[in-house]
Symmetry: D2
Subunit: 338 residues, 4 copies
């Protein structure tokens, strides 16, 4: 932590800051600049609630943190890249993994048809929401446990793994009975009660970035799960909120190389929610692979016009097949495979 | 709902859209423009999941909604302004109501000292967090029920009402036993499981706007609570996330007149979280009253340098007293009183 | 400038950074932390182009600047607050100054009627655009010199000062012949050729903040004008671009106390462009005064429905009169007068 | 244009709106909904200044535009894709074109060395700034005409085309004497005086998107140049400003498929400014090609640590060579070539 004093701060104020730094258990180190005095506080600043409050002391202009606040999620702690294992499936390895399926579980026929089609196209994981967080209380809220059972049916029929969202800490165990991977949606990225619960439950977690979550906050959210001893966390960029409205959100692909630099966790991309329009899914999926994503999660529906939710951003089955065919050479061009 | 066809869309595509509009239970009304055909779908569009998917049909350029998606929160439904009653306290009436207290409940001494000071200065409600949503899992997470008990002690000693946050649906009833007003924090504004739960519990709710929540989404979040039959909802602007970093968030005071136009619910402002710096709290609190806020919620701490959380944005007791003195003439200048 | 080394950076890399810091003319000061080494570079870092590039050196994690990049605009340099004199009118003093008038100069009748009305209501400066920056090349582009002449007519008739926009460096002198205050619009806040030119011309300048300009960049834009020896710069917040669309822009009133802390220059607010809706102008104008603005610039038109531009955000003459009446008690409540 | 009336707007108000619509030269078409009346105004709304002001009429809730405001830039007007010819070089064709070079022209040696290296690596156009728009007035402002001459020297030596920025309308002709392509920087995207001037000058223009420019506004800026009869406009996404600070800007690759849908103009990407960090340039450059960009503009410097500007985001010569080698298979994977 670096404490920058105001220009002309008197010796007495500098002394008081030093005393406080030392009282908090840090070592103080003073640099006399040409215009200002700067004080380095030496020690682990990550329990920094108190250190930041030095900004309230007389003569202090600002307090600059030096260390990243996350530990377990950091590349510094674990040099290499983590591979999350979901049964025999490796996520974060050399192969790019694609998860696909409808926004909402709607019926057995819908799930079976979709599961078979996405499997044939090369997807390894089936997605489908049984508990749906919807902006409107008047919109379809999901089939709940009935939906989980249909996911199970589709898994039995195809051998695909299942990823599905949990929205209430009270449901975490129920969802974990059916799912291979628990999804935390963007709106719940800082629902800390839920993060702790899925940390305890222990199943692999797909943690989506929130629409206004900085990279640092995002890694701190992952840290909540890791801190419970659950290291099987998959990150997923799914669009941030900006001023631009020609896409539903602004898919932030920059997050892929940034996260790859900062953390060892696998990084996925959701171009369906990120853009909100099916016709932009294919170009952004290719771009995601080109800049290093470990996988994709894509909304696919046999009949998007009839979908209970997110029809606008869902690919038809044949469009998904076509996308997978187009993704293969892109993956190979960057030294990966699908 | 207005469906805009592409330039040159053939008669056959227009016919298909009309058929689909009618199949969905709406009446279709066609306008032949100079460049495009536009189709009006007449009927209540608020269960609009399906209507939006018309955008997927051949020849359709875009689909424009006409109605606001919220009903119970709307001024159109309830002409006047709502007053939320918390015992003998009226929120949303002619008097501006101030809630004040520390970010976190830390000790009995802290709570009693703060409660007495803010009461003397004119506050009507005591705030204090017992369950704290913190960005870092390594930061202080609150005193939980022990903290609720200290709030109760402070209430008994002063007669102030209590507002405190609930972060987990499972805790809603427990918190409601102690609190007069349940607070939903910004991070949980779209935690729909929690919204439904506080809707059921029935106590007055202070619902904070999320940092990336549009006004419409915000009113839809309120609608979740109202739809459970709980009409005692108080809105609260607390800063949105923008590119500007000289304040911690960008307190969006524009939301006050905008919300006042759209909804009958009382609107509060939190200048402490909104700016993140104690020195900006006073000017922004005055501005909030000047543009029509029904009340304020302000962080106050006897010793901000020692606070477990949010010390930087907390006012000392005497600064809060001074702010209240300065707020009175501003309230009167706009026809209100404190 | 603080250079933070990576965890485990070897002695040799630290030595190379020190050598480079010294080669650039700074003194190096090393702090050995528990996890990292930090190097302070002592000296005036404001010609910092080269210092920042230390981030490219092996072993360096990040480089943190300590000083604000602006000098002449800084409160540190000039302790008190500046008053800009426009003839006998003082801007930045105890009195709040209101500028008002139409978006575009359209006709002599329009200008005379507006000028007389806003003067009667208490405005001191008449606004009106003769050179209009318009998003569309097909929209009305302003009356050019003809418009300047009509402003002159209105000034002669009323004694009001004139503020009008300059958009091309080549026109700066022409506009300065007619105007008392030159306006730089939001889109030109980083049009450095234009900033230098109005700096040279020497007339008082009203410099609007851009819609995506940080406070620091904004003060650097002012610095361009100040660096030419023109110290008569008035700042003006007019709305930033955020995700929220219920207002045309998000008027950032937080900028008022932030700027008041950082700079000695007077700070104005434009609630007309900031919100884009006439009905929000009045509450936001009051809020602006309440949080410390030195003045307002407001769009007023005798017949907004017929306005060539910005009709939606213009007040009718009688609404402006009413606003001025309502502003007076607010100004007094915060120790100012209108 | 669709005019939505308020719920319960009386017949008289509807009549007045119809009369006004017709007075403005449009045909009015009324739809009686279940909750509201909607009025379609039939006619070309693009000279829509006046139509929008219908929102001010009694009983009107909102006015929704139907047509896109741009004409010449629109795909609707010109079905296919435009190819901009710069001598024998085709931009917007099947081949992806790469422009590369330093941020600032600094010396003959620097330019010659860079030009030869980027040509050898496969670049077709040399970039380099002679007139530099800099945030700080105290930073290096470019070599002006001296710099243009050095670009000319590098062109003669290598046969590369030259792209360089123009910042002042008064310099447009001078710059056009030396440059093959005139660049308009992000800060000047709505400097309409400059846009008109480069439109008149007639040379190909590389128009960068502003950091807060919506796609619509961006195409309107292009329209300014096209409207002067200069159809040789190349668009370029270079990062928008969002809340995220781990990159200098947020490179918005979504803009590539969105622009490709809306306009016939070629679309480039600048991953150097878009990310601000050299290590993110390579992954984002690959992603740009993967999602359909027609070309790239990349900052390259023989010695970034010594660069007068933007050293942090510049690739070394060998890194650029490596990037070009890695881009080739990506281009081929999406059916293009380098």
């Amino acid at each position: 932590m670096i404490i920058v004093m105001k220009t002309g701060a008197p010796e007495s104020q500098i002394r008081e800051v030093i005393q406080r730094v030392e009282a908090l258990g840090y070592q103080a180190h003073v640099i006399q600049g040409t215009q200002r005095t700067v004080i380095g506080a030496i020690g682990d600043e990550r329990s920094k609630d108190r250190l930041q409050s030095l900004e309230l002391m007389a003569g202090v202009e600002t307090v600059l943190p030096i260390l990243q606040p996350f530990k377990l999620a950091s590349r510094e702690v674990k040099g290499g890249k983590s591979v999350v294992k979901v049964g025999d499936l490796e996520i974060g390895g050399q192969a790019v993994v694609v998860m696909a399926g409808p926004c909402s579980v709607e019926s057995e026929a819908q799930m079976l048809q979709t599961a078979q089609a996405v499997k044939a196209a090369g997807a390894k994981v089936l997605r489908g929401g049984a508990f749906k967080p919807r902006t409107s209380p008047y919109a379809f809220q999901g089939m709940a446990e009935e939906g989980l059972k249909l996911l199970d049916v589709a898994r039995s029929a195809t051998g695909l793994k299942i990823v599905t969202e949990v929205v209430n800490p009270a449901d975490a165990e129920l969802v974990a009975e059916y799912a291979d991977i628990l999804q935390i949606g963007a709106r719940n990225v800082q629902n800390f009660a839920l993060l702790k619960r899925v940390g305890e439950v222990g199943k692999p977690v797909l943690l989506k970035r929130g629409i206004a979550t900085t990279i640092k906050e995002y890694l701190m959210a992952a840290e909540y799960i890791l801190a419970e001893g659950n290291y099987n966390v998959i990150l997923c960029e799914r669009g941030i909120r900006t001023f631009e409205t020609s896409t539903r959100f602004t898919l932030d692909l920059n997050a892929i190389p940034v996260l790859s630099k900062l953390t060892h966790l696998p990084v996925f991309v959701d171009p369906s929610h990120g853009t909100g329009h099916w016709e932009y899914v294919s170009p952004m999926a290719k771009a995601a692979i080109a800049c290093g994503a470990d996988g994709l999660i894509i909304e696919v529906h046999p009949n998007p016009e009839e979908a209970q939710s997110d029809g606008l951003q869902s690919l038809k089955l044949e469009k998904f097949q076509q996308l997978m065919d187009e993704l293969r050479p892109v993956a190979e061009a960057v030294g990966r495979r699908l």
